[in-house]
Symmetry: C2
Subunit: 344 residues, 2 copies
DNA sequence: ATGAAAGCGCTAACAA
DNA sequence: TTGTTAGCGCTTTCAT
């Protein structure tokens, strides 16, 4: 490995002190314009590259933000990440990204690595099995801001960027009821996750408000993956009376249910109406197009990152502590998969 | 911010030198078992966290890998990243990720940031407009390994992890010909990118080998996005004779073409057969299911990361330099969107 | 506007 | 097996 060019080399080259070079390089105001120019020129000439380790060691800041997501390869998360990256890079922050694979154990390990990596702030969408936030304690102790997004822990003082999941599913349920559905099955993920717990609430409230009786048989909590469709459809076809409405907590799974239904000759929305969640691309590509909840994922990434970065400067993170929740707008998008009115 | 606990604190606590503490902490063999235990206990007790800046400054290694992709929010890239993250985290490496947004300018900027961040290695899938690799020169000079994946630069000595794009499209084209297609339109991305240039070759070769005449009108180079379908379908419907085969370089765009065709009452595969690329989820969710090329994206991430990390130890990167290309297996998956035989 | 000196926390020679 | 010493490259008082 070649020798590093340091500010000492530049200093020697231009006949000034390392201090002045350092100041010039970091745009300190108290450096004469000509001096700065001379130094910058020399730096370029010598091929100088600042050593961020030395700088970070000294300044105790890394100019990097950690992000922990459950899974990297999901349309939702990758879109959030894209939004985050945009803002971070605009502000000169690096993104250190890791995935918890829905495992609390790995989330803890990731968190520790992030802590050791001295990220200036942490953005987390928690794993399904995470039911406490002890492992972030080291961040809290050192007052390194931690901000949750989408999947936020319950009952705590952390800021979270979320959508109103309860309202979203309330609207979806009410919509299905209005379309004449009599038995609506709700398929969702791990109920330990706020996202799904809230949606279940919205579902219940909507039933209640429309004079329906809640029936636990109509709620299926499951791993939301691509193969969900077959499993779910088998299950719901055994129910009596047969459900005529299906509320699935993500579009991929909803699409998969749609496939499984069509395969059996069950017509959507005539026999069963479907509403998905997220407004992923796939919701516009299947037939019939899926009604869904528009989830502003890219925007969520931007907002979360912006809020985190805005508060990095503050010595005391009061504002971030006090802004407990930022709720983004989401809305029901009605497409053909749930338009039953014409058939009834 | 609270005071840091350092190895000096531990040393003082257990009555040993910082050196021994450092050795114990990094599992150096020449430390007595009891000593190590005492040190580890004290470290835990005091809440010690190693300072990677100091360590990296001293060791001149960051234990982090940079990844630059064109876009974070693509099913393909996020799957590659997931594979990379898995391997990296297993080996104790952090992932610093940024996106070039298909802009050479941003790619250069990202590259410089990665260089300044002192990543131990760099993984790149290049932007569409990148036609040289000068901006990686600083990495080459310092012998920091750079490995390209999927979109690799032409004519250079860098290692790349790729699939055989030429063969893949050759097979797809041959398949369409066998299914009786007489006029096959090939829709692909920016031809400056090896991926698409190679595919065009495969298309031409296949035509040639089957006695077809290549016609430039049948090649459409375009931005491959979700809205592609309408644009493409309008174009091809103007062609005379009307094409009966469509080869689209990613599944999202292929699905979008499929939608646009169906909207106009054109039947797939009877009137026009379609083959996509990537084997994204969406290819299995549209109707008819899309024939496509299975692209082992997750695996590509794993392989690329493994190869990079394997060669980080080596002082001289000879092996990496000499292994010029790693080609992963890809294969044609035939589904309903291209099964025309029964109609002819 | 510029400089001298100290030190961030760690590790690697070298010595014992 | 353990310790001494020096220094990685930078920034930040404090002085001039």
């Amino acid at each position: 490995m070649k020798k590093e060019i340091t500010i000492y080399d530049i200093a020697a080259n231009v006949g000034l002190s390392p201090t002045t070079v350092s100041r010039a390089l970091s745009n300190h105001p108290r450096v004469h314009v000509n001096t700065r120019k001379k130094i910058l020129d020399a730096a370029k000439l010598l091929g100088y590259q600042s050593n961020i380790f030395a700088s970070s060691l000294r300044k105790r800041r890394s100019k990097s933000i950690g992000v922990i997501v459950p899974k990297l390869n999901s349309p939702f998360q990758s879109s959030v990440l894209a939004g985050m990256e945009k803002i971070a890079s605009q502000s000169g922050y690096n993104l250190v990204i890791s995935q918890s694979m829905e495992s609390l154990e790995k989330e803890i390990s990731n968190t520790n690595i992030m802590y050791n990596s001295r990220v200036d702030g942490l953005l987390v969408s928690k794993a399904g099995t995470t039911d406490n936030i002890e492992h972030f304690q080291s961040f809290f102790n050192k007052e390194i801001p931690v901000l949750f997004f989408d999947r936020v822990p319950e009952n705590n003082h952390c800021t979270g960027v979320v959508i109103n999941n309860t309202q979203a599913i309330y609207d979806a349920t009410a919509h299905l009821i209005k379309e004449g559905c009599k038995r609506i099955v709700h398929v969702l993920g791990n109920l330990q996750i706020n996202v799904y717990a809230d949606r279940l609430k919205g579902y219940k409230y909507a039933l209640m408000d429309h004079g329906f009786v809640f029936n636990a048989e109509n709620v299926i909590s499951n791993e939301l993956d691509e193969d969900l469709g077959e499993r779910i459809v088998k299950k719901i076809l055994k129910l009596n009376p047969r459900p005529d409405g299906l509320l699935v907590s993500n579009d991929t799974s909803a699409a998969s249910c749609l496939m499984a239904l069509k395969k059996r000759g069950i017509q959507v929305p005539k026999d069963i109406a479907i509403v998905g969640f997220n407004n992923d691309l796939i919701s516009r590509m299947v037939e019939p197009n899926l009604s869904t909840i528009n989830y502003p994922s890219y925007h969520m990434g931007e907002v979360a990152m912006k809020n985190l970065i805005n508060h990095l400067g503050d010595e005391q993170q009061e504002i971030l502590q006090k802004t407990n929740t930022i709720t983004l707008r989401s809305e029901l998008i009605i497409r053909d998969s749930s338009k039953r009115s014409s058939y009834t």
